[in-house]
């Protein structure tokens, strides 16, 4: 499950996140950016590297013990 979200109005499309992504899981066009869910391992390096805090890591909600 993808835990990383990109805030549309904050991203500057600079490619810093693409450069640190070990899985080649981010596709960046001029003003469009997509995380490729099948490749993303939620390692969060992109979130930490973003100069503008445009990426958010949503911590997984732990399922109630059954």
């Amino acid at each position: 499950m993808l835990l990383i979200e990109i805030k549309d109005n904050t991203c500057d499309f600079c490619g810093c996140c693409v450069g640190v992504c070990p899985e080649d899981a981010i596709a960046l066009q001029e003003a469009r950016i997509d995380i490729i869910e099948e490749r993303c391992t939620n390692c969060a390096k992109c979130v930490w590297a973003c100069p503008f805090e445009a990426l958010i890591f949503h911590r997984p909600v732990r399922e109630a013990a059954s």
Binding site: D12, G19, P22, D24, E30, W48, P51, F52
Partner: protein
């Protein structure tokens, strides 16, 4: 636009446009592709270069130069300033004009150029690649090429598609936020570099004048520091303190791959140049002229390989790069790692140590000698790489 070219260059920055120009000049067909709508914007760069390095690779048009820099001011965390003599001068470029002109010169030399051309994959053909898939103004198509040049910057995806691991190690990525400010009070011939954990941990903050009371100001910090506090916060705080009344003309993000040099920059018929090949000086973060010098080496190897019909001749390019820049960049990278670990008190002590030197010894080498006093192995390393004369 044709279906097939001798050489296809992905990315019209300084390195890509230089490869395109020099290969086209030799009479080969070249297609240069830029994903953005404009060549040259947005400017994700501090725009400073040394005059000697730039003049040795291209005839400099005065229109490219926003300011000529004669003084380099290093500011320690406690505010003390050191102005080492670099033995030359610098330029702050107007990169929107510079990049635009380099691309135009490539076209004048015979290359074709397209903007809004987004390359999203390579066409595999055995161990080689026969072309790329692109989205051109939103329309999908393929273009064939004998040689594909990845000049796609910090993202460096072309290399990855060819099987080269171009991921920038997280710690080596300098994560940057920058602004162009208007109505700033500063000397128009002095570049400032600010250091310390409060302004730019594991990196630096720059203020480069661009004439007419404008300046390029930015912060670059390692990913390892950006993780705790983002570059835009450091920049906003500094600007509010130092230039509270300045107007903000641009606000831009960027990443600079300050890694030790990449060994693997040619794979089959795929060639990497510039930031995509991690050819940035890892100490300064400067990559304009090193990328262009690499582009010239790559263009010579490409023309040679095409003329002989033998891709193995591309190997001349990595060999020449390693000889001319690779070893130096590896040393710069080790120096950067050492400097990253300096606490603020150490940086203050270095400034005090340099200020205690006789004025004629206050060169950039003098700064390094004082800085690395407790690292004899690194001083030896530097001496071997840059020549012992640097230390006299």
């Amino acid at each position: 636009m044709k279906d097939r070219y001798d050489v296809l260059v992905v990315g019209a920055g300084p390195a890509g446009s230089t490869v395109a120009r020099l290969v086209a000049r030799e009479g080969f067909s070249v297609l240069l592709l830029e994903k953005d709508r404009d060549v040259g914007t947005p400017v994700r760069c501090g725009e400073a270069v040394s005059n000697r390095s730039l003049e040795s690779i291209v005839d400099v048009d005065p229109r490219w130069i926003a300011a000529t820099i004669r003084r380099f001011r290093l500011v320690a965390p406690d505010g003390s300033c050191v102005e080492p003599d670099l033995g030359g001068h610098g330029y702050v470029l107007e990169r929107r004009l510079f990049d635009y002109d380099l691309a135009r010169m490539a076209v004048d030399a015979g290359a074709e150029l397209r903007t809004k051309a987004y390359v999203d994959g390579l066409l595999a053909d055995g161990g080689e690649y026969r072309g790329v898939t692109i989205s051109l103004n939103g329309e999908r198509r393929t273009v064939g090429a004998r040689i594909i040049v990845g000049a796609d910057g910090v993202e460096s995806r072309v290399g990855r598609w060819a099987g080269i691991d171009t991921t920038t190690p997280f710690r080596d990525m300098e994560c940057c936020a920058q602004m162009t400010l208007a109505d700033v009070d500063m000397e128009e011939d002095a570049c400032e570099f600010h250091f310390g954990t409060a302004v730019a941990p594991m990196g630096y903050l720059w203020i480069f004048p661009k004439g007419h009371r404008t300046a390029n100001i930015g912060v670059g910090v390692s990913g390892a520091a950006a993780k705790h506090k983002s570059p835009i916060r450091y920049l906003n705080e500094f600007v509010a303190r130092r230039f509270p009344r300045a107007g903000i003309l641009t606000t831009v993000a960027g990443g600079v791959p300050c890694a030790a040099t990449l060994e693997d920059i040619v794979r089959g018929n795929v060639v990497l140049v510039g930031d995509a090949a991690h050819q940035v000086n890892p100490m300064s973060g400067g990559g304009i002229t090193s990328g262009m010098h690499a582009a010239r080496m790559a263009a010579e190897a490409i023309a040679g390989a095409l003329r002989a019909g033998d891709l193995r001749l591309l190997a001349a390019y990595p060999k020449e790069w390693q000889r001319s820049h690779g070893a130096k960049h590896r040393t710069y990278h080790r120096m950067k790692e050492a400097v990253y670990r300096f606490p603020d008190e150490r940086l203050n002590a270095i400034a005090a140590g340099v200020l205690a030197l006789a004025p004629e010894q206050r060169t950039i080498w003098g700064v390094f000698r004082v800085a690395l006093m407790k690292h004899p192995a690194l001083v030896w390393d530097m001496a071997k790489t840059f020549g012992f004369s640097a230390f006299h």
